[in-house]
């Protein structure tokens, strides 16, 4: 269980609170999707969980342990992180990228190699074909699969994902998103995913948390959000995919 207790992030330069006193719990095994408009504080909230961003105030507890007081390096090694830009190391091969966290942890080489094989299989990218390739020789979708494999390598129980499918072409996205959801279930992961794509949120989430201007506006299952939006803002947000589906049906019908 991840507990965000009155979590706050203020930037000194602007004096503005990107996240203001956020309280949120994420149950073990839950798939939580954080949504909201650009600048609402959802990415800041996400990156505070592995302390890529240091909170100004408040607490983050993972399974009861206050992680704001512990070593951030050790913390990050047990949390998977996937983001839109992927950030594969360009000077390392696909296999070396996947093995990096284990290498940092001093895991024996043989075990690392076995784990790389296993993850490449799971990503349906056979090692013989892809293992020795450098990131520049991979497609966008292949890169994000390697990024995902890299995040999973150290067998984290928590995965943080910042618009992981945002830069992918629609076909690849529609393939990779459900694949990840399946992985989440199979591995018993706890996932926090940030997106501004409401459709993606509805299709993936166990629970959706809507943020605006650093505050939590509403959190609930997709069904709860759709049936009982707390205000006009949330209503507008959920109207968007519905309206698009409607428009699409009309265009398709006319054809």
């Amino acid at each position: 269980m991840i507990e965000l207790v009155h979590l706050t992030k203020e930037y000194h330069a602007s004096g503005r609170a990107a996240v203001a006193g956020l309280d949120l719990q994420i149950a073990t095994g839950e798939f939580l999707v954080l949504v909201g408009p650009s600048g609402c504080g959802k990415t800041t909230t996400l990156t505070m969980i592995n302390r890529l961003t240091e909170p100004s105030a408040g607490e983050i507890r993972i399974d009861g342990e206050n992680i704001t007081a512990s070593d951030p390096v050790a913390l990050r090694r047990r949390i998977g992180f996937v983001f839109q830009d992927v950030g594969l190391f360009p000077h390392l091969t696909a296999a070396e990228n996947i093995g990096i966290t284990l290498r940092l942890m001093g895991v024996p080489k043989r075990e690392i190699e076995a784990r790389i094989d296993e993850l490449l299989d799971r990503m349906r990218m056979p090692r013989a074909q892809f293992g020795a390739r450098f990131p520049r020789a991979l497609s966008g979708g292949q890169r994000q699969r390697i990024g995902l494999a890299r995040a999973l390598a150290a067998r984290p129980s928590v995965m943080l994902m910042d618009e992981p499918f945002g830069a992918l072409d629609p076909l690849t996205r529609d393939e990779l998103a459900p694949e990840y959801r399946a992985l989440h279930d199979a591995l018993g992961l706890t996932t926090v995913l940030v997106t501004h794509d409401m459709t993606e949120a509805f299709l993936l989430a166990d629970r959706i948390a809507v943020m605006r201007a650093g505050h939590l506006v509403q959190s609930g299952t997709p069904h709860e959000i759709v049936s009982k939006p707390v205000d006009e803002f949330v209503r507008a947000l959920i109207e968007n995919p519905r309206k698009r589906a409607h428009d699409l049906a009309r265009v398709m019908g006319a054809a």
């Binding site: 990050r76 983001f83 950030g87 190391f89 360009p90 000077h91 990096i100 940092l104 150290a154």
Partner: protein, 524 residues
Amino acid sequence: MSGLDAAWASLPEYLGWHVLLSLSAILLGVAISLPLAILSARIRVLRGAALGLASIVQTIPGLALLALFYPILLGLSAFTQTTFGFGFRALGFLPALAALTLYSMLPVLRNTITGLTGIDPAVMTAARAVGMTGSQQLLLVELPLAAPVILAGIRTAAVWVIGTATLSTPVGQTSLGNYIFTGLQTENWILVLFGCVAAALLALVVDRLLAFAEDGLVLRSRARLIGSAAGLALVIGVSIFPLLAAAREHPIVIGTKSFEEQYILGALIGDRLEKAGFTTQHRDGLGSQVIFDALAAGDVDVYVDYSGTVWSDDMKRTDLPSRAIVLTQMADWLKTKHGITYVGPLGFENAYAFAMRADKAAALHINSLADLSAYARRMKIGGDFEIFSRPEWRSVENAYGLRFGVQRVYQPDFLYRALMSGEVDVISAFSSDGRIAQYKLKLLSDPKGALPPYDAVLLVSPAHAHDGKLLAALKPLIGSIDLATMQRANLSVDRDTDKLSPEQAARVLEANVAIRARQRHFAP
């Protein structure tokens, strides 16, 4: 072309020192610049300061930067001597190394900072997110990614340093610059070209090898990296090996100042000592003050100075007693103050003198410096680099009330041409210069005795004060060269046709010395 033979013969020594010096400077430069750049990439304030300083260093002319380190190190050495009881050599390798190290820093600093700050921020986010510590981010991500850019900086630095290292000759460090400086002084353009081509080739080879390594980094080709490293190791090994072989021999270091006569006498001394079984090393083209300090410090073991120079520059004397008194007092002072041994006078004087074209002097009825005072205001005087800042010049100015309309400074070889072409009316000259006779110049007399005597004198360093074998090998030179002989020798190197190399002129001179020695031997 026997000058070229001599050039080839000195190549192992010159190239060896050039490579050793450049290599040390680049390694030291990288060792300083790399950590500084890594810090600077993180700390913005430091970045401005480091790059600013390195850029300023870059704007200082290479020769001046090298020259500046000599007094700095001399002061530092004096300080450590009095404070900690040990000194170090302020001449030669150290000042050259210090200056070249500074010179090498800017490209390495700039490229390393550019390389580190130019890394995709997403990659750095990933580096933190996978759980790298700060030093792991640096070693596993930042440095490997910046490596090609850093190496490109090192490549630029290497080419700069190899080029600039030719300027280390005047501070007493042997390098390929020895060809260039000796060639310039003796107007041996082939020698100058030889030095330039050798330095350029070395720079080119190193540049290509480093470029190959750069490709290796970019393409992650181990073969290229190994090939490049092997090539560099070969170049370094082959060049430095002769030095290591020679280093075991403790050579006698012969110093020369930067004009023909000195090169000839240096070669003459070298030949004699080699024949007497010594191994010798030459430090050519040293500045007047530099060479004296070097002798006192033992960086140079033997050289020829001039009594008037020691009298006014080193002893800071302004009075002008007779020649005999100057010599005895100088010998005393050298021994007691510096432990330097005065072996004796060579037999000729190379005094400061002032010369005019004979026709012009005759037309104006000018015979002496005193006659000049009426015309000086409307005249132009040319001098070498030193004369106008020397006490002798002030003494002449004051004694005869000379105030010239225009003062110009020339490289010594161009001085005579300036006089003959009428660019200047009077020049400073040296009495032993062969060109005075060649151009039939009028030497102006010094009725008031404003100029001190300038006997060529042989001096030996404190360490060899009791080296009987060395002194015995040098003794036959005393009193063996008269003014006419020296003028002829100087002219044979200076003239435009049938030019001899200083080494060849030294052999002619040696024959003279031998004849004189025999004459003395058989004299009753």
